[in-house]
């Protein structure tokens, strides 16, 4: 492979002048030109944005005062984070939301994927039914569910009352059940994705392994736990990482359905960033929350990675 020298030596100047655009130099130039848009995007939206938000996280700034108004306050924002009840509530809710929307849906989806895979001619029907909510606009989905879960008139509670439950949960408007309701809607909307990824993983398991175990007289349950689950490990690992990260980024349905309420009972870190940054114009504090979120996601990714490797 030829190595391109970006700087032509002075001693070769005369020679180089004639044949400066050698094919490999030309290839390098074209390569960089092709990469320019992506590199500009990365520099602007990742490198600069991350650096600037780090700087802001140590400052006090309301944006309206312009760049000279940025005031360095050291660790002030970070100290405030851990005394802010809304942030502590958001952290707790993020954790609860993760617990509700990662392990349980993964288990359900795994079982469903296996069952769907064996369901013969109905296979594509099931795949489509579970998948439609995932491709639908999450806000449209949220609009449908907010009607279904209406505390007094909604079909869900009317059904529950018909079944003899006198005081059904008030779902989204009750601080005790608001986060749970959001977790249910979020899971309902994304289960299709988890199923599809598992179904793709299942097609990679060869039938011979199952046939061999059948000759040995293995029961369906044994096959599931001894063959399917271990062989799907890489898929489960992939899903665990993406869903963990995704659960910490939850925002859209919360913003539409509860705006973090009632009483911050369904607030999360991203919603705090939105509220502090775009409602209170406290750009420094919002940046500090952003870095808290970034740190949490980084730690989770690293930890899951390590766990998955062993």
């Amino acid at each position: 492979m030829e190595v391109v020298k970006q700087t032509a030596g002075a001693s070769h100047a005369a020679e180089a002048k004639k044949k400066f655009w050698t094919p490999s130099r030309r290839e390098a130039l074209v390569g960089w030109l092709f990469l320019i848009p992506e590199i500009v995007g990365m520099l602007l939206l990742n490198v600069f944005a991350l650096g600037f938000s780090l700087y802001l996280s140590f400052s006090k700034w309301d944006m309206l005062s312009g760049l000279p108004g940025i005031e360095w306050i050291g660790l002030g924002n970070y100290k405030e984070l851990f005394h802010d009840p809304a942030i502590l509530e958001a952290l707790k809710n993020n954790l609860l939301y993760t617990v509700m929307t990662v392990p349980i849906p993964i288990a359900i989806a795994l079982v469903l994927a296996v069952v769907i895979n064996n369901s013969g001619f109905l296979k594509s029907y099931f795949k489509v039914v579970f998948f439609i909510p995932y491709i639908s606009s999450i806000i449209a989905i949220a609009a449908v569910w907010s009607a279904l879960l209406h505390p007094s008139l909604g079909p869900v509670n009317q059904l529950l009352m018909q079944l003899g439950i006198d005081a059904p949960p008030k779902w989204l408007v009750d601080p005790k059940t608001s986060l749970l309701s959001i977790a249910i809607i979020g899971t309902w909307a994304s289960l299709g994705y988890t199923i599809i990824i598992y179904t793709a993983g299942l097609t990679n398991i060869s039938n011979e392994i199952y046939e061999a175990s059948e000759i040995d007289g293995a029961s369906p349950l044994k096959k599931f736990f001894r063959i399917t689950v271990p062989l799907l490990r890489p898929t489960t690992f992939f899903l665990a990482i993406t869903m963990l990260i995704g659960s910490f980024k939850v925002f859209d349905i919360i913003s539409y359905l509860t705006e973090g309420g009632p009483n911050n009972s369904s607030t999360v870190l991203v919603y705090r960033i939105y509220e502090e940054g775009f409602r209170n114009y406290d750009m420094g504090y919002a940046s500090a929350i952003s870095w808290l979120l970034f740190a949490i996601i980084g730690i989770i990714t690293a930890a899951t990675w390590k766990l998955g490797k062993d």
Partner: protein, 275 residues
Amino acid sequence: MATKLSKSIITVLLGAFSLMFLTPLVWMVSSAFKFEKDVMRFPIQWIPEKINFVYNFKSVWMGRVPFYDFYWNSLKVAIITTLITLLISTMSAYALTKLRFRGRHMIFLAMLSFMIIPDQATLIPRFLIIRWLGLYDTHAAIILMSMFSIYFTFLLRQFMSDISDEYLEAARIDGAGHLRTFFSIMIPLCRPVLATVAIIKFIWTWNDYQNPLIFLLSKKLYTIPLGITLFRDDYTNNYAIMMMAALSAIIPLLAIFIIMQKQVINGIALGGVKG
């Protein structure tokens, strides 16, 4: 015998479970056809006795909330974003796989490490960048914020590295320049994966709520997901109209999904990360 019986029991159970996913959508469709007073009536009228479709349709599409504009805006933003993303990501992937020069591995590693940065962690600076560029409250802001996709570059790179270099060398021997090789050899070879990427990107952009929420102010510029919030505020407790709006938002996606089911599912299964 026993397995056949258990198989049908499982299918029935699965069918019952799948109803949990189907009924909310059926309820949405049926409510969109109803008079408001019948929407919350119990037991549910799955097939409405009295149809109020025309009124609901008119209220959504020609009423005081400019839903027609939202549709047009969504279409415009989603199509432009998809095309630009395809171009940027294909160009990068081509440079990273088929052109040899110093630094390309470094660039690739940088991309990989940027992939873990959550969008929300850079939300504040993104907002400031848009203001400084004078793009606040324009569609260009949303397009600019969603047109770079390291994820799609990554997918395309994967696909292109499986394409044999011989095709490209043959073109070069025939005297084709880099640009021509890219446009008339590489892009046609990538057509299947480009179709998949385009569909997924279109769906994501269509459904995007966060960027329009932060970068748009004028109602006339709203895209559909943001527009739906206006129905909630404007037609408080008129669920028939809300469901008509929700249905209208979902229909193009359903159409895409039904026509191109395979590409959509494969595209997601390709290793999909949402957003």
